[in-house]
Amino acid sequence: MRQSWLVGVARHSILIAVAVMFLAPFGFVLLTSFMTSEQALTSDWWPSSWHPENFVTIFTQVPMLRYLGNTLMYSVLATLFMLLSSVPAAYALAKLRWRGSNATFVVIICMMMLPPQVVTVPLYLMWADVGLTGTLWPLILPMLAGDAFSIFLLRQFLLTIPADYLDAARIDGCGEWQVLLRVVLPMARPGIAATAIFQFFFTWNDYYGPLLYTSESQEYWTLSLALSQFKHLHHVEWNLVMAATVLVMAPVIIVFFFAQKAFVQGVTLTGVKG
């Protein structure tokens, strides 16, 4: 009895120690974001005076609102477009019988696994031809033609919906589109939510895409590109960089807390069931 109590304490001490290690970087970032720029350059970790106005300064010193707007435009449109194109495709792959469906799914897996850098140069040239390099559209418009990872994830979700419900609707005379819209969509809401959140996070966090297309046109920069622009003569104003870092992290963490359950279910499905 006594021994198991000791084991329990030891186990929880390990857990708490690991939790502290995971949380500490967030703590340092948050504390630094309230410092003066001079103190941020020292090895202090507790602010000697608190400067919440840093969070205002990041908006006045650089066009942060514009970067925020660009990031939101990219994330929201890319997520909406992805849903429009990928939900029907996932439905056809999970719930319709047709020759070549496995082969198509294999191609989609290959597309999902393809390092984006492989096709970067030809795609860049293609968008340059239509004059859209220097904007975020080369990242948003392709979402109208399906996103491989989202199709994959949605298909895994749709496979878990029993065929009986769909057959019942078909017997009642529903066409496949009606089956999708009236029966499958309401049932797959958690899966669709998880996929949408993934897409939103991916685009919100994306760096390679915006760097490739907008690095030379600052008016289209996203937050990822703008994060570390705070410089005073020769030294970096770490307090402001950290304030901007908090600003970028906050929405992701807030969305996560609201949609935790769907989100964790989604992460689990990106693995393979043993």
Partner: protein, 334 residues
């Protein structure tokens, strides 16, 4: 059957079977059109954003092309340069392979350890699960900037803490030896996504197996070795292979770390001038590709690098598809 092939023995008077078959034909065509209506956007996506650029990359890889003048066919010259004289390409490939060899196992070990730790708690498990998961949510650019700041050799809290224990901390992101291990620490910190997958796998292992083993007097290690590991090995395998593919694309963290640590501290335009800092230690293969294409405008050569990256990534994908065939065909249709 013969009737439809030769058209000679077709009976003059339509038999009762034909309108039936015609109706079946029509239904089949309707079904095909329905499927197509669902898939049309994705099929366009596959042709425009996968097939076309792949073929195009292969073609450009045999040309010299600087964007200003038309591509000139040069045969294998780009590949000769890649395999013969481009030291930087080899350095970059070695860096990427180093990350594959150390980052992937480190992340898997950390994910397995934290997931197993979580299975042992009875109360408060969900709170710890959220805390362990949080770093995986941090945007990579933000997380990398934060890590470079925390691991700053002179003023960062990490070396400060090490000094308390009498350890003289390394230069981390500023040292050619420690820069890649620093990135491994960053990747291990953000291990939550993998941990959640492993946790689900661990919770799927049937409890009676452990109970039976306990009755037989098995030690914890034996239970882990002979029950846990075999049960979750498909999950581990899948995570390992996808981890390798992700690491082949490793770009953002290395680019941002080099830029911030070098003191240039820009994540926007001009970042590629710091790629590789310190001493090419953080130059990954995709970064070398990016520099060749978009800094030196050597599009032909960049595409030769791309084709090699494709071949490696595709080979790994094939391993995945072969090993997890069930994963593709499995599941119920309705």
């Amino acid at each position: 059957m013969a009737a439809t092939i030769a058209g000679v023995t077709r009976p003059a008077v339509p038999s009762r079977g034909v309108p039936h078959r015609r109706r079946a034909d029509r239904r089949r065509w309707r079904h095909r059109l329905t499927v197509l209506s669902f898939l049309a956007p994705a099929l366009i996506g596959i042709s425009v954003f996968l097939i076309y650029p792949l073929l195009s990359a292969i073609y450009f890889s045999f040309t010299r092309f600087d964007l200003l003048t038309a591509p000139v066919w040069v045969g294998l010259r780009n590949y000769e340069h890649l395999f013969g004289s481009d030291q930087t390409a080899w350095k970059a490939a070695a860096n990427t392979l180093w990350l594959v060899a150390f980052l992937v196992p480190a992340r898997m070990l950390a994910a397995l350890a934290t997931a197993m730790l979580l299975t042992t708690v009875k109360r408060g498990g969900s709170v710890f699960r959220i805390i362990f998961y949080l770093p995986a949510l941090a945007p990579p650019v933000a997380a990398t900037i934060a890590f470079v700041f925390l691991f700053n050799p002179a003023t960062g809290p990490v070396n400060e803490l090490l000094a308390v224990f009498g350890v003289d901390g390394p230069l981390w992101f500023d040292s050619p030896e420690w820069a890649k291990p620093s990135l491994v620490l960053l990747g291990t910190w953000a291990v939550g996504d993998l941990m959640v997958i492993f946790l689900a796998g661990l919770l799927d292992v049937p409890k009676p197996l452990y109970e039976a083993a306990s009755i037989d007097g098995a030690s914890s290690w034996q239970k882990f070795r002979f029950i846990t590991l075999p049960s979750i090995s498909p999950v581990l395998m899948f995570a390992g292979i996808t981890g390798v593919i992700q690491t082949l694309q490793f770009f953002t963290q290395a680019a941002v770390a080099a830029s911030v640590a070098s003191g240039k501290a820009t994540t926007g335009g001009g970042i590629s001038s710091t790629f590789g800092y310190p001493d090419q230690a953080l130059l990954t293969y995709p970064m070398h590709l990016y520099v060749s294409g978009f800094r030196f405008y050597d599009m032909g050569y960049a595409n030769a690098l791309a084709v090699m990256l494709f071949l490696v990534a595709f080979a790994v994908t094939l391993v995945l598809l072969r090993r997890f065939r069930v994963f593709v065909t499995g599941g119920e249709r309705g």
